[in-house]
């Protein structure tokens, strides 16, 4: 007898897994990384580039600037970066000290910035990062005025794309003595990161908070405001009204160290929709060139970067992508690399993935602290699997590759500066992407809703 294998759309394998887990445990799932569902994204956009109606620059020889300046509105010391690609805030606690050092070294070599996270500033990170953005989060874990003074910019975090409105958590298994001491909490306790700031509520208060930070830093350092993408048009306007030099918009594809899956997959809007709303808000206020926009959430490739810039972003910020570059979800880690991070022996770790109930390419178990490749762990043994030189080399190469891809596309579009990419250079592959991005459907002059 023929066995029917028609899968239900409504009750597919993923939904069945969810129902079985819920019914067996009474617990919602908590996991790391970002949304796995397919949403309209930069993949749904294409560049038109030059032909008869546009004049291209030669592929990689003619000059095309990637220089990026952030924080020009009020700060007396804006940040100058060599490339428009920055490293997003990720906490010491979710990541090991080795990883934070590797990110700092890579960013410095690539001429860009890295960012602290919910857990304070480590010496490894400050020491290795030429340009370091210091986050001021609702939890204020480890927040220290000395670190404010040592930072190159301050980022007030309102929300995160993976969990806007949701705060955060660091499960007890990752809270080793050093992490606990930095956060002034007992070892091994689940740490809630608050969803609201303790000393201000609402945009009017935020304006005063930002002025406090400016007074403390004698108006030198740029102040960023980061929002998770939801009501982005209004949030960006309010951030600008509050006095931000730079607004960071993190779309729903953004990653997290540990959050409820229901948040990751069902809260917030895609980065593609958010970036257009953010640019609309800046243009509506006449602040497009005065307040810089950084976009994050699912930026993976040079093409993504170029499309974000063309949409109107001044820079992008990457979290998960750099974790992947470090080795996240790889089937092996490197032992015995040379001092420059090259060479070494690949050590397979499939069994470690299996012990977590995962496999290379499918792992999102950052919350467990048992990362098989030593990236998202505080375990003294596991963290040795990612040595700073190896991580720094990989991330530097990743950043360099993306920067070259962006400038290659920019040249093909006839631009001498990657920041000259514009929405007019883009078309959409789908109606949804066309509507969200506000660009024509490919082969037409139709922009849905206009």
């Amino acid at each position: 007898m023929k066995i029917q294998r028609e899968e239900s759309w409504g009750y597919d394998a993923r939904t069945l897994d969810y129902i079985r887990h819920a019914s067996a445990t009474g617990l919602y799932e908590i996991r790391g990384l970002g949304a796995k569902r397919r949403v309209p994204h930069f993949d749904d956009l294409l560049f038109l580039a030059a032909s008869l109606s546009r004049y291209p620059l030669e592929g990689y020889r003619e000059r095309c600037s990637t220089k990026t300046v952030l924080g020009t509105r009020f700060a007396t010391k804006p940040i100058e970066l060599a490339i428009p690609i920055t490293i997003a805030g990720m906490s010491f606690g979710s990541l090991s000290a080795n990883v934070k050092e590797a990110l700092g070294r890579a960013a410095t070599e690539a001429g860009t910035s890295t960012t602290t996270g919910d857990g304070g500033m480590t010496e490894e990170e400050r020491g290795s990062s030429k340009t370091l953005v210091y986050q001021c989060l609702p939890s204020r874990y480890g927040f220290d005025p000395d670190h404010v003074r040592r930072a190159d910019a301050i980022e007030v975090v309102i929300g995160q794309g993976a969990k806007p409105g949701g705060g955060g958590m660091l499960l007890g298994q990752k809270v080793n003595p050093r992490v606990a001491a930095m956060r002034t909490l007992p070892e091994g306790v689940d740490q809630r990161s608050a969803c609201r700031h303790p000393d201000w509520t609402g945009p009017d208060d935020l304006a005063i908070k930002i002025r406090e930070l400016r007074e403390i830093t004698d108006w030198e350092k740029p102040i960023y405001v980061k929002v998770g993408a939801t009501r982005t048009f209004h949030d960006v306007k309010l951030a600008v009204h509050s006095g931000a030099d730079v607004v960071v918009v993190d779309g729903m594809q953004g990653g997290t160290a540990a959050t409820q899956t229901v948040f990751i997959e069902h809260v917030g809007i895609p980065t593609l929709a958010a970036v257009r709303q953010a640019v609309d808000a800046l243009e509506d206020l006449g602040m497009k060139d005065e307040v810089q926009l950084i976009v994050s959430g699912g930026i993976r490739t040079g093409a993504d970067v170029a499309k974000a810039l063309a949409m109107g972003a001044d820079a992008v910020s990457i979290g998960q992508g750099v974790l992947m570059a470090l080795g996240c979800n790889s089937d092996a880690w490197i032992r015995g690399a040379r001092d420059d991070g090259s060479g070494g022996e690949h050590v397979r770790c499939d069994d470690d993935y299996a012990a977590l109930g995962a496999a290379p390419g499918y792992c999102h178990h950052c919350h467990t602290g048992q990362c098989p490749v030593g990236v998202t762990t505080q375990d003294a043994v596991l963290e040795q699997r990612l040595q700073p030189p190896v991580g720094a080399r990989r991330v530097r190469n990743y950043l360099k590759t993306m920067a070259m891809e962006v400038s290659t596309i920019a040249r093909a579009c006839g631009k001498q500066d990657v920041h000259h990419l514009e929405r007019e250079d883009l078309v959409a592959l789908t109606v949804e992407a066309a509507a969200m991005a506000g660009v024509p459907l490919a082969g037409t002059d139709w922009v849905p809703g206009r």
Binding site: G26, D144, D190, R192, P198, R211, E212, E215
Partner: protein
């Protein structure tokens, strides 16, 4: 020897006053700030053992992120007085608004009058002594440090406490999730007596009750069904 500097905030921009406090103190040991008129961010980010007297009411974040300095507000203080203080002493002679001492990691905050909502929210090691009463949600998610309240406390006191401890002399309208009354030990009596002495307030420590965390939220508990 005391070396005094004075500023009139109606004449000198706040930015210049704070810059002086950050970078130009030199031998100055005492700074007087006159006519503050509720300005925000007065004497924020100090990092020296200087005494600062604010002769009037202060707005938001007075003495925010203080290190080493002694700041006295001769009036009322707005939201977030001494927020994220690391060390030193901040004294408010009048009342303090919401979020007094928020996230403060060290030092002593004394409010001689009452405090608004969320006094000591997210506290991380500092001591706070309040001569009057505190509003609702005080010490929300407080991690470490001590709050002494000589008057009453509002609703949801100590919600989601970690290791911070609260001492209240008057009535407590309600406790927050995971907060509970505990017996006063000799160590608690000594602690309260010491803090009252530092604050210059005279009460019998035996009149205070201790509130601390039951630690039942230290690990997420599905069986609580979110009915904390």
């Amino acid at each position: 020897m005391t070396v005094l500097a004075s500023f009139d905030l109606s004449r000198t921009p706040l930015r210049d006053v704070n810059r002086f406090l950050h970078r130009e103190l030199g031998d100055t040991t005492h700074v007087r700030i006159e006519r503050p008129d509720g300005a925000h961010s007065i004497a924020v980010g100090l990092d020296a053992p200087v005494r600062v007297d604010v002769d009037g009411h202060a707005g938001y974040y007075a003495a925010g992120m203080n290190k080493h300095a002694t700041v006295v507000v001769h009036g009322n203080a707005g939201p977030g007085v001494a927020e994220n203080m690391m060390s030193g002493t901040v004294r408010v002679k009048g009342f303090a608004s919401v979020s007094a001492g928020a996230s403060a990691r060290g030092g002593l905050l004394v409010v001689e009058g009452d405090c608004g909502l969320r006094c000591g929210i997210s506290l991380k090691g500092a001591d706070i002594v309040v001569g009057g009463s505190v509003g609702s949600f005080s010490m929300f998610m407080a991690q470490a440090g001590r709050l002494v309240v000589c008057g009453d406390a509002g609703d949801a006191l100590g919600d989601s406490l970690y290791e911070a401890v609260i001492y209240v002399r008057g009535e407590v309208k309600s406790l927050g999730a995971d907060a509970r009354f505990e017996d006063m030990t000799d160590a608690d009596l000594t602690a309260v007596a010491g803090l009252l002495a530092q604050a210059g307030l005279r009460h019998d420590p035996r009149e205070f009750r201790r509130i601390a965390s039951a630690r039942s939220l230290y690990h997420w508990n599905v069986d609580a069904n979110q009915e904390y």
